[in-house]
């Protein structure tokens, strides 16, 4: 039906979107199609697959350090086979342990949950859901992927150098990061980390700037801001966050590079190394923390907001109900965006910050609970009495809500300046952010993969394997992270190499063994996903036009991808994207492209947004067509 309608308009001159100067008449070669592609759909796939590979690597790293935590006194000869001198005698060295936690964090936060998540879904969905041929600048978009790719390569290359990767933690606080001779990981590995991050920030900025420009300038006819799906709102605000916060990290990194390589003292003062007193004077490492967390805190929302947007869409589609509180959802995203810039101090409560200032940061932090709770309740209200379809995507979206609640609650503890004195840098923090931004965001990402896989590859994923993947991952994630809260409450610090070295930590060894087994289970569960993903790309069932009976625009584009997304004219949008189970309509969904004139039996007064003429037409029609009872 839809494609017929589109085909009939082929001859029409496309007036709305003429911003694709380079479409249509260029020849596609293998290189321009798969490698240096400028098509947003291909770039999305590149981001996704690179992100998946990085996620697998980072997960592998976490298993390695979990083995060390669970069995600090045992030898595992296979580790030496793989890692050589970093696991001499089958035991992971302490230096390498620090490198593992650092690179695990860096990859997961930046490469998987920022680039892998935003890069994939912003690229795929922004043009398809707002009705554009491609991004504002396809060339910049291509560069964005290749900068990201180079950043990945540089980051991974640090595993192949003598001194090993950066190991001062993913926040790379000076002086560890500023003095190349401080620890092995402060040497070349740290330099590579900084180079990689500069490439990454460049990639992120090119991407983000493109997303914002595309959303503001290239929406199809009828797609006003309040008719955009919540996914687009989330990607839009995420991109704005990135544009406003990443440059500050660049500023911080530039100063750090000068401290490292040219001998300036921006972050350094009064340092004695071994027996030598360093000449650096007058700097302050706390200033790095300010600059870093001014990015770092918005960064965690850069990670979670796209996931929230994706689950809004998935939950609404699979509950067959309009999203509860669409406007409230948007305003709460805006609220989170704004607030995220004035809370960075809660990472620094114990740096000797003025208690009054700590109080201010505490209040702003706790206020973030309000928009977050609005979102949570809206998800639950959308699910409430919905006609729920438990697709794998839906399960993962519900999983996100679960993690967002259980991880968010502990945020209220940590945001409290006085409680933070006890909890700072303990496993409580680790448990908190692994639930609320780690697990929640990765579940959002997986929900997106299962939901839009048919759009990306034109194939369906296997649902049964999806269920297996979900339940194993969901249970294992709780088994891994829930016990860590108790370690934290007992004061066990994060990033410690061997629990056997401290009397009060010894009792937690058994818990560590349990957590490690749960982590191994979680890692094995991902095999189900990886197999399903790659197998379905080639051998999956061919996807129908609109597999989830969804309203948004991307499902009107042909299954077979073409450069420019729609043949002929881009469809016009007439209504918001959440007309599910609208009373009076025969189907339980009405795509955005269906005008109100075709759904007279289900129109409601507020659909016309005060347009008196349309209301009059509707009233006349209702008088002429009295409601027939048993309509169902």
């Amino acid at each position: 039906m839809q494609s017929e309608r589109i085909m009939s308009t082929i001859a029409l001159h496309d007036e709305h979107n003429h911003d694709h100067a380079d479409h249509g008449h260029h020849k596609e070669t293998l290189i321009s199609k798969y490698i240096f592609s400028m098509d947003h759909k291909m770039i999305a796939k590149q981001f996704l697959i690179t992100g998946i590979i990085m996620a697998v690597i980072a997960m592998g790293l976490s298993i390695l350090f979990r083995i060390q935590l669970a069995w600090p006194d045992k030898n595992f000869p296979f580790l030496e086979t793989f890692l050589g001198k970093w696991a001499e005698g089958g035991r992971i060295k302490s230096d390498f342990y620090l490198a593992l936690v650092t690179i695990h964090g860096t990859i997961m936060v930046f490469f998987v949950l920022t680039a892998g998540l935003s890069g994939t879904f912003s690229n795929l969905l922004i043009p398809l859901q707002i009705g554009a041929r491609d991004m504002a600048s396809p060339f910049l978009n291509m560069l964005s992927y290749w900068f990201f790719f180079m950043a990945c390569v540089v980051m991974m290359s640090s595993f192949f150098i003598q001194t090993g990767p950066a190991s001062g933690g993913w926040t790379v606080y000076p002086p560890l990061s500023a003095l190349p001779t401080a620890i092995p990981g402060s040497g070349l590995g740290m330099t590579l980390w900084l180079v990689s991050m500069v490439l990454f920030v460049a990639s992120s900025l090119m991407g983000g700037i493109n997303y914002v420009s595309t959303i503001l300038n290239m929406r199809t006819k009828g797609m006003d801001l309040w008719k955009m799906p919540l996914t687009i709102w989330a990607f839009f605000l995420t991109a704005i966050l990135g544009i406003l916060s990443f440059p500050v990290l660049v500023a911080g990194v530039v100063l750090l590079v000068f401290d490292r390589s040219f001998g300036t003292s921006f972050y350094l003062s009064d340092i004695v190394m071994g027996t030598t007193i360093l000449p650096n004077e007058g700097g302050s490492p706390i200033l790095w923390q300010h600059l870093f967390w001014f990015l770092g805190h918005p960064e965690v929302y850069i990670v979670i907001m796209p996931a929230l947007g994706i689950s809004s869409e998935v939950i609404s589609v699979n509950s067959r109900k309009p999203i509860f509180g669409y406007h409230a959802m948007v305003y709460s995203l805006i609220g989170i965006t704004v607030l995220s810039f004035i809370v960075w101090g809660h990472h620094m409560f114990v740096t000797g910050m003025n208690p009054l200032l700590g109080g201010v940061f505490m209040i702003t932090t706790l206020i973030i609970a309000v928009p977050s709770a609005v979102k949570t309740f809206n998800y639950l209200a959308t699910l409430w009495r919905g006609n729920i379809r438990f697709t794998p995507a839906m399960l993962f979206a519900i999983g996100l809500v679960s993690f967002f609640i259980s991880g968010g609650l502990t945020g209220i503890f940590l945001g409290n300046a006085s409680l933070d004195i006890n909890l700072h840098d303990t496993y409580f923090v680790v448990a908190h952010f692994h639930l609320v931004m780690g697990s929640a965001a990765i579940f959002g990402m997986l929900a997106g993969v299962y939901h839009w896989f048919p759009k990306m590859f034109g194939k369906m994923m296997n649902a049964k394997l999806g269920y297996l993947h979900f339940w194993l991952t969901f249970i294992a994630a709780y088994l891994v992270f829930f016990p860590l809260h108790f370690l934290g409450l007992d004061g066990v610090p994060r990033r410690y190499y061997a629990f056997t070295e401290f009397e009060f930590m010894k009792k937690w060894l058994t818990v560590n063994v349990f957590v490690t087994w749960a982590a191994i289970l979680a890692a094995l569960a991902q095999v189900a996903f990886l197999f399903n993903f790659f197998y379905s790309i080639f051998k999956g069932k061919v996807a129908p036009q609109n597999p989830w009976e969804s309203n948004t625009l991307e499902w009107t584009a042909p299954v077979e991808h073409l450069h420019g997304n729609w043949p002929g004219e881009i469809p016009t949008v007439y209504r918001w994207p959440y007309d599910y189970s609208k009373p009076g309509h025969d189907a339980d969904f009405i795509p955005q492209t269906v005008p109100f004139s075709q759904t007279m039996s289900s129109n409601l007064p507020h659909d016309f947004e005060g347009n008196a003429e349309a209301e009059k037409i509707q009233q006349d029609w209702e008088i002429a067509n009295p409601v027939v009872e048993n309509k169902g």
Binding site: A136, T214, P247, G252, L255, F258, F266, P279
Partner: protein, 192 residues
């Protein structure tokens, strides 16, 4: 379907791309905001700034960059009146002014070094002057590249929409880095 694609008119819409430049301006502003807030917090916590009398070369370079903005504005106006030879002349003058701006910055650094206010030292506020003016100079290089691409377009007779687009992008960016330098200079003057 391929036929259908060919039917789509290829016209050039500069609006989203121009918007990209504006967004870049925003993010660059934020970066310098990050630098200057580092300076403010540093100066407040240590109770001292750079404490220098800034070299005269910075005054001259400020005047030169203001002049370059004016010549660039004249180039835009010439293009609007379709006076291509005047546009080219003005663009060339802008490029020359831009390059002399760069020389003056180096000159300023040189005279700072002579007075002992070097990049590497115990006052991060002094190192800071080198960093921000250096980062700004990187922007100048990008700006010159944009102006040269406008010039190249002008000589190659590309379509008028495109050459206007290049001119506009170069103008947005160049006026931005002009204002940015004035901001940095005044900031350094006020926060000694």
């Amino acid at each position: 379907m391929i036929l259908a694609m060919a039917n789509i008119q290829d016209t050039f819409d500069p609006k989203p791309r121009k918007f990209i430049v504006w967004l870049f301006v925003v993010s660059s502003t934020i970066m310098f905001g990050g630098f200057t807030s580092y300076y403010l917090v540093f100066a407040a916590s240590k109770g001292k700034g750079h404490g220098l009398v800034l070299p005269d070369a910075f005054i001259y370079s400020s005047l030169v960059i203001i002049a370059s903005s004016i010549t660039l504005m004249l180039a835009s106006r010439a293009l609007r009146k379709l006076n291509f030879s005047l546009q080219r002349r003005m663009l060339w003058i802008t490029v020359v002014l831009a390059i002399s701006f760069g020389f003056m910055q180096f000159n300023a650094w040189g005279s700072m070094v002579k007075t002992g206010a070097t990049l590497v030292g115990n006052n991060a506020a002094i190192s800071f002057i080198y960093i921000v003016s250096g980062m700004h100079l990187l922007h100048i290089i990008a700006g010159v590249a944009l102006i040269i691409s406008t010039l190249v377009g002008s000589y190659k007779n590309i379509p008028l929409v495109k050459s206007q687009f290049r001119m506009e992008i170069a103008s947005i960016f160049w006026h931005f880095i002009d204002i940015l330098w004035i901001y940095l200079y005044v900031f350094l003057l006020l926060n000694r």
